[in-house]
Every structure is written in C-alpha cells, then in structure tokens.
Symmetry: C2
Subunit: 145 residues, 2 copies
DNA sequence: TAGTTTTGGGACAAAATTGTCTTAAATATA
DNA sequence: TATATTTAAGACAATTTTGTCCCAAAACTA
C-alpha cells in the first residue's frame, strides 16, 4: 500500500521538520534537514526544487542560505504539497484503475473507494504543516526512525 | 495515490470477472479473460501463476483447461488476494514510511492513518469476490473501460 | 502417435522510480 | 578579489515495476 512516493514522503517529512522549528527565522539549509532526517541530500534537493518552482518554498543561495516556507505553516496544507509532488489528480486515482470513471459507470468497488478517498482528501485538506510541526515540537511525535 | 500495483489491479479485475460468470463450471482460460478485460495475456498469466501457487486458483492445462477458483467466490475475500499479491504486511504500511512504527513512537499523521488503514482493512476483509462479481453480472458495474 | 491447446517458467526488454554525482550559479565574507 | 557556502540543473546509475517473448510441460483430440 504505497499511497505516497518516496519523493513525497521525504518532502513532507522535511517540510514538517521545517514547520516544527517554530522559533527559527531565515533560511534552513537542505544539508541540515537531510542530516537530521537521514534523507539523501541530493534527492531531497531535487524534491525541494520542485516545491520551490511551485511556490511552496522560496530558496536563497550562499552562506546562511537555504529554503523557507513561502507562507506561514498554518496556511500550508497537505493537499497543497501533494498536488505539487504527486499531481493535481492525486485524489482522483482509482482502486481498480479504470479510466474515465465517475458515478455513471462505476466499477464494483466504487462506493467504498469514493468514501475512502473523500475521507483522505478531507484530512489532507484540513491538516496544515503547522499542526504536524507542533506535534513534533512537543516531543510527542517523531519524524525519523 | 497508487494503493495497489498494476499486477494486483489486473489480478483482482480478472478474479472478479471469473466470479461474475456465475453459471459457468469448469475452467476459464486466461486467454479469454485477458481478451475480455483488455489485459496483457502474459502479464496476467504471471500474476495468476502466483495466485495458483498460493492456493487462490487451481489450474489445468490443455484444451478446455484454464484456471478456476479453489473456493466458492463468497469465501474468497479481497484481503486474501491482496495478501498474496502485495504481501501479508500490506495493511501495515505507513504514510510517512518510518520503520518500526506503532502506537509507542508514532509519527504526526499516525492517528489519521491508523483509522484510514483500519477502515480499508475492514472493507477488504469483508468484501468477497462473489459480492463484486454479482455487481458486474447485474450490469450495474463494469470491469473494463 | 501427431498435432493442438493451454498453463508453467524463465529470460529479456522497457519504463518508472529512486538514488548519486558533477558542475554551474548565486551569495556572503574575509 | 578569492574562497567558502549553498541551491540549481541535469547527467547518470541502480532498482523496481511493468510488459513481452520463447520454449517446455501437460493434457486433450484426431
Ligand atoms: S469506478 Fe470508482 S473506484 Fe472504480 S476505478 Fe472508477 S473511480 Fe475508481
Ligand atoms: S507512526 Fe503510524 S502513520 Fe506514521 S509511519 Fe508509523 S505506522 Fe505509519
């Protein structure tokens, strides 16, 4: 059950880490994040470039450079990130993979899957990076093995 | 959002097709299924070999040969198939992919994901091939684009 | 027995995903 | 200006997934 690609998983973990560093101002370097979270630096860099190109992050080069969220963490939701990294059709994907689906000509698992997808979309729509970051800051949850 | 691999999707569609052919006795050839459902014959054959090796199907070679469900379709549940094709740890997979998870040291999305996984597992545990096959037989649902 | 049908098994190829590396560009600081 | 730091970009390799193909084995039919 691979819901998210590795690239998305790494990107999300990294963003939540950034959101968890509430006090910090300025840029956080990708090197720091990849070290703390044990993620390949180059792989994470590529994912972050995508996020930068799509307005989730802004970047700054040179000493003390790095990346920063373009908006306050409580205004960035999981759906925003997933749309960039997995595509805007993320929540339209089908369990049985039949093209051109809908309620008109559904497959036999449609009813269940529609509800499951909506629950997931609802959760992603309403969960902000700030919310997840707080859980980490408060030591109750972890981002790394 | 790729919950199931192509191999599993094809296998499931094919099994539901078999279940939908209520009246038929004897073996159904893989060639017929692959043609009707527009699935690569060789790819489906490999998936079916896995299912045969794990007791979901029994096969018979030669003219009028093919495959058949080893049990009545109402005794074969989605979980059974998914366990064979995706692994028995299918429902243990994590949204953020942290190893060694559990309730002790959860990641920040654990609460939601645990509930979502349980809902899915519950559905898969209780949905039989017969149930899905009936929906297809009754013309209300489709298996092919 | 010979020929046909069908699954079994494995080699192989193509494509997608994941991961690594090198070089360039931008920026800061000494 | 020279050097160090850091992201940008893209080439490249490794791995996994997906898909194709060939031939053998089993079973039926004539
Ligand atoms: S009918 Fe519904 S569940 Fe089935 S493949 Fe289409 S959208 Fe997905
Ligand atoms: S803590 Fe829960 S949701 Fe998070 S990775 Fe582990 S099992 Fe999955």
């Amino acid at each position: 059950m691979r819901v998210l690609s590795k690239a998305t998983v790494y990107g999300l973990r990294a963003l939540v880490y950034m959101a968890s560093e509430r006090e910090r101002t300025g840029y956080v370097s990708i090197g720091e994040i990849s070290e703390r979270l044990n993620i390949s630096f180059h792989f994470l860099t590529k994912t972050f470039q995508t996020l930068t190109q799509h307005g989730i992050l802004e970047s700054y080069r040179g000493p003390n450079g790095g990346v920063a969220l373009t908006k306050p963490a409580d205004q960035l939701f999981l759906t925003d990130i997933v749309h960039v990294l997995e595509g805007v059709d993320f929540f339209d994907k089908c369990l049985l993979g039949l093209p051109g689906c809908g309620t008109f000509a559904p497959c036999p698992v449609h009813d269940f899957w529609k509800a499951a997808k909506e629950a997931m979309k609802n959760e992603f729509d309403n969960t902000s990076l700030a919310e997840l970051g707080e859980k980490v800051t408060d030591e109750r949850f972890r981002l790394v093995a």
